[in-house]
Symmetry: D2
Subunit: 160 residues, 4 copies
């Protein structure tokens, strides 16, 4: 029996974005989808083909994802068109409110749309994708798990 598979890919220096990745992983797993979480340095563009859902997170560097995440996206052009129809998601941490976390999430989602991926907003939680100001607190924990569940729900509807 086929099961949807999800990848959570992150870049993290302080550990805040990594923590968010682990919480989203927990949410996806609780939604019944097989999930793998990886540091971007361990992700090759080729690996992206193996998953039905791909969720990418980054700290906010100048209102955008880190160059390391951008490099993965740039190299993924080798498989352009082959991610069409997969579920995509994004999350970000930042130091400040108003510090660029939303623009980071939107920029990641734009990249995933250009790959032909399917996105899912949220009317209740962090609308575009989870954001943390500094270290993830209880609010962020709830948001990340909720987001993971919604990604899992959509991946199952589309790919099981």
């Amino acid at each position: 029996m086929a099961t949807a598979k999800a990848l959570v890919c992150y870049y993290s220096r302080s550990g805040n974005t990594k923590k968010m990745a682990q919480l989203i992983e927990k949410g996806i797993a609780s939604g019944g989808v097989e999930v793998t979480t990886k540091d971007v340095k361990d992700v090759t563009p080729r690996m992206l083909l193996d998953f039905d859902a791909i969720v990418i997170g980054s700290p906010t560097y100048y209102g955008l994802m880190s160059a390391e995440i951008k490099m993965l996206l740039d190299k993924s052009i080798k498989y352009h068109g082959e991610l069409d129809g997969k579920v995509g998601g994004a999350f970000a941490s930042s130091y400040n409110v108003g510090g660029g976390n939303e623009t980071t999430v939107i920029a990641l989602l734009e990249a995933l749309m250009i790959h032909g991926m399917i996105l899912y907003g949220d009317p209740e939680g962090d609308h575009y994708g989870p954001v943390s100001i500094g270290a993830p607190d209880k609010r962020v924990e709830k948001m990340c798990i909720r987001y993971g569940r919604r990604i899992a729900e959509l991946a199952k509807r589309l790919h099981d």
Copy 2:
């Protein structure tokens, strides 16, 4: 037998955005989904509940949708949460390349994400949603029909 239903909602003064709406309608219909196209003045927030896919188009006024489209979105808060899981899409016309058509499409998509809707990017065509520079030409016609078909395909996978 249940069939997915789609709404194409537009604002248009010159007729360019209306023409795009009709082309997207054609694409959605050819994808096997029942589709209704309406001028925003004839759309109430309540009507949005009746459709599985909602595609909204606007000319580019200061890099964003017209105030008339924004007014529909603002009033739709009455049904906040009830559009969760519907398919959303956006398109825009503008006078110039670099004239704000992409920012208009992205802004519409952001609003639909906040309603909890599901978006679909495109690796080949206009990535975020169809855009026309001036009157729709052959390229735009192709893009709009392609976009309608993809929206229909996704709506059927999720809602049939």
Copy 3:
């Protein structure tokens, strides 16, 4: 002796955005620029010509400014080109972190760029423009006053 003049224009229902407007007004005044704060319902497009700096604020409605603010922008097309070179700024309130306040500020700034206005980012505070999560607290008060001062400083360099 000529003095730069600034307008702070806001839309507010809960009073949060109005409070931010008043704090920004305070910052602008302390920066030595003559400043007027007005509810958008009392602002005509024609009035925009009378100021050297225009700062616009809105609550976050579906990731964007309210339709009332958008209507002012749409009508301002009557004076398109005549705002070229004025200083522009934006601010927003929202209910949640990740709730669309940054996308609201960016969307406002995009509109002001299309008018040919001059924008000023901030390396320390809320980078794109002040944002408040709910009612303005001490942090927001500081950010708004700081932003007002920076707008005043730029307006004086360009227009005194």
Copy 4:
């Protein structure tokens, strides 16, 4: 006598973005500002301090600047705060209309705002910054030269 100095920094593989950089350089020079154009590989973050205006261009890779440009921005954090008050600008090339050129320009401008830079929109030309679909044609040539002149004009008002 002090003269404003401008840097045009670009990344280019096909040569399209480089061509745009040279046209913008021409516009800046004709506006009476000393201008240097450099491939991003020859630009260090430290160099950014030497200029009063910094204009950055990139091809559109997944709706954003190339990772090489992003890497320069990430490394520029070493001088965070020291670019406050400089003039910033952006431009982009892309393969398609609707292909992400506007989102690339906006993303670059967001990064420059986070450095505290001063941006200048345009009511007539490509509003956010010049964009080229494929190789620069006559329209793009005109836009780039116009943009360079406006950047020069602003840099002189602020920094001469």
